[in-house]
């Protein structure tokens, strides 16, 4: 089929579509209102709740930091506080970048590029989030045990002999599973970017 024939077909289709009844005013506003309500509830709330929980834990650890006497627990607590503070910030900022593409202003080529880049960034943040989240599995327990006065447990070599390999193993499998998922999304996004060139 030649392009001219395609254009003629398209013109026929356009003519046919123009003949259809106008969409009802009430339905149009109903669509708009329902979409608006859904958008507000969708992503923002779980992200915000997650961040608040992280900050509460970070503040708790920070307030109890002077009580920690064991040197490695101090290091673990610092690492945990850093992860709990920086990870939600990075995640929220990446999400904001994805949501901030200007559908009404940017040309499709520019918007597609921005959206794909911010999508890659978002998934990269999620990817590192998985790794640091796994690391936190190891770092959060010992200082919490000391704060709660249960140092007997963490002072036992058997605890570390079980907890450390189990934590690392869990972190490894969980990250591998999650990274596999994210890799696919990032690859398809990069493919989109390459199509723009």
């Amino acid at each position: 089929m030649e392009l001219e024939e395609m254009q003629t077909l398209w013109a026929d289709l356009t003519q046919k579509i123009e003949k259809q009844d106008k969409i009802q005013k009430e339905l149009l506003m109903e669509i708009t209102k329902q979409k608006f309500r859904k958008k507000l509830d969708g992503i923002r709330l779980p992200e915000m709740i997650g961040s608040v929980v992280c900050y509460i834990y970070a503040m708790y650890l920070l307030s109890k930091f002077p009580d920690l006497e064991i040197w490695y627990n101090q290091i673990f607590a610092m690492i945990t506080i850093l992860i709990l503070t920086l990870l939600p910030l990075a995640s929220l900022s990446a999400l904001k970048g994805m949501r901030n593409v200007k559908i009404e202003e940017d040309a499709p080529a520019k918007m597609l590029e921005k959206f794909t880049k911010s999508k890659i960034r978002f998934f990269n943040v999620q990817r590192y989030g998985m790794i640091f989240g796994g690391l936190m599995l190891i770092t959060i327990l010992p200082p919490i045990s000391e704060i709660q006065g249960n140092t007997n447990l963490i002072s036992k070599p058997i605890f570390w002999a079980i907890y450390l390999p189990a934590g690392i193993l869990l972190m490894y499998f969980f990250s591998r599973w999650a990274l596999g998922k994210y890799r696919k999304v990032i690859d398809s996004s990069e493919q989109l970017l390459s199509e723009l060139k």
């Binding site: 089929m1 392009l3 013109a11 026929d12 339905l27 940017d106 040309a107 918007m111 597609l112």
Partner: protein, 168 residues
Amino acid sequence: MSKEEEFIQLIQENQGLIYKITLIYSKEKAEQDDLYQEIVYQTWKSFDHFKKASKPSTWLYRVGMNTAITHLNKSKKRPLMVSMDQTLFNYSEPMESEKEEKIQWLYAQIRKLSLLDRGIMFLFLEGKNYEEIGQITGITTSNVGTRMSRIKQKLKSEATPKPTKIWN
């Protein structure tokens, strides 16, 4: 005229355009309806920009295409919220079967193109020249030309639709 009335008028005047965007960016009926609703929502959300736009048609093409691109990029399908069966996409006069077949083939070929090329092809079929396509999509006129040649090559390499034989 109130903002709501202006918006309703804009959508009613351009519902065919929005519908055609949904056809080239999605295959399933439910997806098309969902995309239609998303474009309507995005148009309402950014309606103040429309009033400032120097070329309203360019603006609407952009919003429609951008929404379709971002909508398709979202992995999760959202459920259809408002049934549009009574009002839209119900044609009383069916097309001749051969023409209908050709149109279906045309959609299928366009949907094989990349997201941006789909938009370029759509604008070309809408009768826009290369300069206008460039203005709407945000690429240079020469780039539009290059992409159109590639699209032509791709479409030529595909077999034209064969008429379906009906056996008794």
